[in-house]
């Protein structure tokens, strides 16, 4: 599945790095706790979160993720967008809540990985 597919499934608004919608996403994870992402994530390239602060982008960067999706329509501020742009991480926002957003991606074949 590509970032573009996720955009369509979740009806996302793309916030930055729209040019990377063709990037392949093999597995994803959902968490509001960045330490858990650092502890348990392996090769998941997409993060769904309800947390909105610069450490979300930094955590995604540390884990070589391609995409961060903010649930419940949350929007990052300009400093976060700038940080993501520098790192080439696509930021998107969906109106769905975490459980529903993850469920919809699962239903379409995206898995959580190891």
């Amino acid at each position: 599945m590509t970032i573009g597919d996720i955009k369509n499934i979740l009806g996302c608004k793309v916030i930055c790095c729209e040019e990377r919608l063709d990037a392949e996403i093999n597995t994803a994870c959902g968490s509001d706790m960045m330490s858990d992402v650092l502890a348990f994530v392996k090769d998941q390239s997409c993060l769904l979160t309800g947390l909105v602060n610069p450490q979300v982008v930094r955590t995604a960067d540390m884990m070589d993720m391609h995409c961060v999706i903010f649930v419940r329509g949350k929007m990052p501020d300009e400093s976060m967008i700038e940080l993501a742009r520098e790192r080439g991480i696509t930021l998107m926002s969906t109106g769905y809540r975490m459980f529903t957003a993850c469920g919809k991606l699962w239903e379409n074949g995206l898995r959580g990985g190891n």
């Binding site: 960045m34 650092l38 502890a39 947390l51 540390m62 400093s79």
Partner: protein, 141 residues
């Protein structure tokens, strides 16, 4: 790769939004000199957790990173309040971080255990009201 490379960073304790800049910089450098992705990932995780800890608990500090052909050594030194019981602090889930830090996605008591899990060696030296020095090594072979 160069024989040895030394990186030095000052970590600002007043700005949580900038915590992680030093780690991101180290990660970038390691990628440029061709370190393996697995080692880069491990260095990034342990250094980032350490840097966050410095900002949350110790009002910042300094980070020194030595990159040798076979090993990366990271020393994180602060002059914060210190750790009274290191064994207890190492326990997964134990945290003294204030509530507002939890709302930022950290402070769940995972930091030190993550650092131990992903480094090959970790040593914590701490004196209450004097400060803490954490030394971590990641092997490159």
């Amino acid at each position: 790769m160069n024989d040895a490379l030394h990186l030095h960073y000052f970590v600002d304790g007043d700005d949580f939004t900038r915590a992680g800049e030093a780690s991101a910089n180290v990660k970038k450098t390691l990628r440029q000199i061709g370190v393996s992705p697995d080692a880069i990932r491990r260095v990034a995780i342990v250094l980032y957790e350490g840097e966050i800890n410095m900002v949350i608990h110790a009002n910042g500090g300094v980070i020194d990173v030595d990159i040798a052909p076979d090993q990366i050594t990271m020393v994180l030194k602060d002059t914060g309040k210190g750790i009274a019981d290191i064994e207890l602090a190492m326990k997964e889930g134990y945290s003294t971080a204030p509530e507002e830090v939890r709302s930022l996605g950290f402070g769940a008591g995972m930091g030190l255990s993550n650092m131990k899990k992903y480094s090959d060696e970790m040593k914590i030296e701490s004196t209450v009201n004097v400060g803490t020095t954490v030394t971590m090594k990641v092997n490159l072979s």
